[in-house]
């Protein structure tokens, strides 16, 4: 089930143009070396891909209210 769901999300992200930023691996608690290797490899891969384009893209969109207000949850509290 997990593998099917993750495959679905991977395909979805690919469709969105965010390919390669999700990885699934089975690692047992007895496989410390495998864990270290997979995490290192994935970190390298993400470093190579660079920062997520979402942050960059959303900065270009004029948003109102944004910044301080957005972070303070003012609207949420008022509602």
């Amino acid at each position: 089930m997990t593998i099917k769901r993750i495959t679905f999300v991977q395909e979805m992200l690919k469709f969105m143009g965010l390919e390669g930023r999700l990885h699934l691996e089975w690692i047992s608690s007895a496989e410390a070396q495998k864990f270290a290797r997979v995490v290192t490899e994935f970190t390298d891969k993400i470093t190579h891909l660079g920062p997520s384009p979402i942050a960059k893209a959303t900065r270009l969109i004029p948003m109102e209210p944004y910044g301080e207000k957005r972070r303070k949850h003012e609207y949420h509290k008022a509602g």
């Binding site: 395909e11 143009g17 948003m63 949850h73």
Partner: protein, 270 residues
Amino acid sequence: MNITKQVEQLLKQGDVDIFLAYRELDGHMIPHGYTLDNLEELPSLKVSQHRYSLEKVATHLTEKKPDIKIGIVARDCNQRALNLLYTWNQLQPENITPIMVNCCPSQTRTHSDCTYLDPKSTGAFKEEHGINFNEDPGNFMDNNDNSQRFSRWMYEFSKCIKCYGCRNICPVCFCPDCSLENPDLVEPGALPPEIPIFHLVRATHMAGRCIDCGLCEDACPAEIPLRFLYREMNRIVSDVFDYTPGVGLEKSPFTVIGGEVTLEPKPMDA
């Protein structure tokens, strides 16, 4: 027998407590419930090309009154939605009486009655920066690289005014608590909503549920190609889970735990 007679008979025989259809009001077709108490309104029942998710109304009615018997005027898309709602236990098939009406043209039906049959047109700017409504997902993947796809989707999503129209019209959106209204997940008071997360949350929820009626895309005031998006989601679902929502009464694979899997995890450099 015409539909008015048919409905009258159903109501008088007590086969249905309410019949959901449309009535003409000032030249507009609006959803309406016909009951024994307002039989005089029956002549205003009209079947036109306009459509609405009547099965959503049926779901709400059933929520309030579980034993209510509902008649419903249905096209193929409504029938798919009903099938899906049966499998999710939102409606009971024995309480629903659909009357099928003309839908897409076929060998038995030479003409059609559905708003969807006018294909949506896409303007030049949208064509260049966004996504054509009638694009084929395969071509979209082939003609755009990763970053182009991303910028096209972000252009589309950034127009979102968070009106929730897509969710409100959706016949298969029935959760009592919507993730899209949870203030911890979706920041209130910010426009556009956090993109692309907002739309991807809905897209994920549509996987294995969307019956491709296209009402969301019709409803969207920002012209986001939602049908295109959910269609592709369900293409993936049919590949990965071998399931097409609304076709039969088979349970959604998302509600079934376990099962044999032949997939392998993707290698990291795929």
